[in-house]
Symmetry: C2
Subunit: 229 residues, 2 copies
DNA sequence: CAGTGTCTTTGACTTAGGTCAAGTGTTTGC
DNA sequence: GCAAACACTTGACCTAAGTCAAAGACACTG
């Protein structure tokens, strides 16, 4: 299933990526000819820290984690990405190597954009430049929010926020499925698995119940309130 | 001293900013005509969170802090910037408001770049686009490193790293002047002033001695070693 | 030069979260 | 179907950093 070209559903998703949202349908199809679709199993590495930059990626479905491995072997999760999101664009204009590792954490379908083609393509087209700026700004803004949260919210609150991001409704009750295992969620939120467990336990008090990878939120507003303060 | 135009020394510094480093001298002078030089005292606010975006900035001399104020009144420092650095470029292509507050923390001379002129200017010029990508990538990369450090290094190590950034040599002994007060350094490093004091005290053991705003580092390599592990 | 305010340090205490170790299920493989 | 491996939880304990309070140390004011 590897190395095929994008179908129309893929193009659909690609068009919803910030980078391409202002690009015309014609240009999009032209560009799509220079991409490949990759379907990778859980656990597959897309690039290693230090690899020569060849491409950046967009996700059609599934989840990818971006992380750094420290000398002592511990990992720092820099972000998790899913459908409609791009990652490693910042590497497009770097002559150096990827500064992080990317690994699929669930079976994932993604579009791979070759650097050489896209670097030119983006630079010669103001609409693409704008899209690229939007993408990078979004990543920067997200990273900033993560930094802020790590600094000023408790583990319990960060977990609450994470659950709220997964909810599809914005009030009342909702049930969400955790997109990857709890050890990764813990790392993603900057805590140890033990602390995650205890945080889940504490959230029971505001109507959050976990059963395997299914989380029942009784009252979204209540949870929001609990995590905001 | 406000609202004058850039002199040749200013142009010199401007040219060393990532955004403009590949821009020709002719273009630079042309662009400089659309900037203003501002000289602001310590404590002056350049923009507030929520202000309509009008400009981004480059620093000729002095220091600026970028921060968010939370509902509870506490500040989260997102970064500190000095000579040769630009900030708020990400806002160039946002129709919305600034997402943070910028305040001079020492007397500061800066170049103000008007958004309307520069947005067009950047988009119509691949060299400028490249510069802008480089700037944004740098900010993203920095933010990532800050996040990583906050997550996996102790306060003492973060302080050590900060001091090393200020050193001008890369081995042997060195003396550095702290660029702003200790309360801000603490916030910048994600800790309380009390913890900063205690961290300084601990660093005495690896040959770091503080006297007011002067820090004597006996052996840079030793400090590096101490903060790396 | 005393007096007031700001910045910084120090001390005593609390607490969130990490660590280590032992359990409980659940899945996987033979 | 049983054992081994894995994923998660729970408990007991420890430690880095936060909190609160007080005391020094300058620096500016009148």
């Amino acid at each position: 299933m590897d190395n095929t070209s994008p179908n129309s559903a893929d193009l659909e998703v690609m068009h919803r990526m910030r980078m391409f949202s202002a690009v015309s349908a014609v240009d999009l199809m032209e560009m799509a000819r220079h991409t490949k679709i990759r379907t990778v199993p859980r656990g597959e590495t897309l690039f290693e820290m230090g690899d020569q930059v060849r491409s950046f990626f967009g996700i059609i479905s599934g989840w990818v984690k971006l992380y750094n491995r420290r000398e002592d072997g511990t990992d720092v999760i820099l972000g998790t990405f899913t459908k409609g999101e791009t990652f490693a664009e910042a590497a497009l204009f770097m002559r150096e190597a990827y500064p992080a590792i990317a690994e699929a954490v669930s079976p994932t379908r993604l579009i791979e954009f070759e650097r050489d083609y896209f670097a030119d393509r983006v630079l010669s087209n103001p609409i693409m430049c704008r899209g690229m700026f939007a993408s990078l700004s979004l990543h920067l803004h997200r990273m900033t929010r993560e930094y802020e949260q790590l600094q000023s919210r408790s583990g319990e609150q960060r977990l609450g926020r994470f659950l709220l991001m997964l909810c599809s409704r914005d009030d009342g009750p909702d049930t969400v499925r955790l997109p990857f295992d709890k050890a990764l969620i813990a790392a993603r939120l900057g805590m140890k698995p033990e602390t995650l467990s205890r945080s889940f336990a504490k959230l029971k008090a505001v109507g959050v119940n976990v059963e395997r990878d299914l989380v029942q939120v009784d009252d979204i507003r209540l949870l929001e309130e609990h995590c905001a303060k």
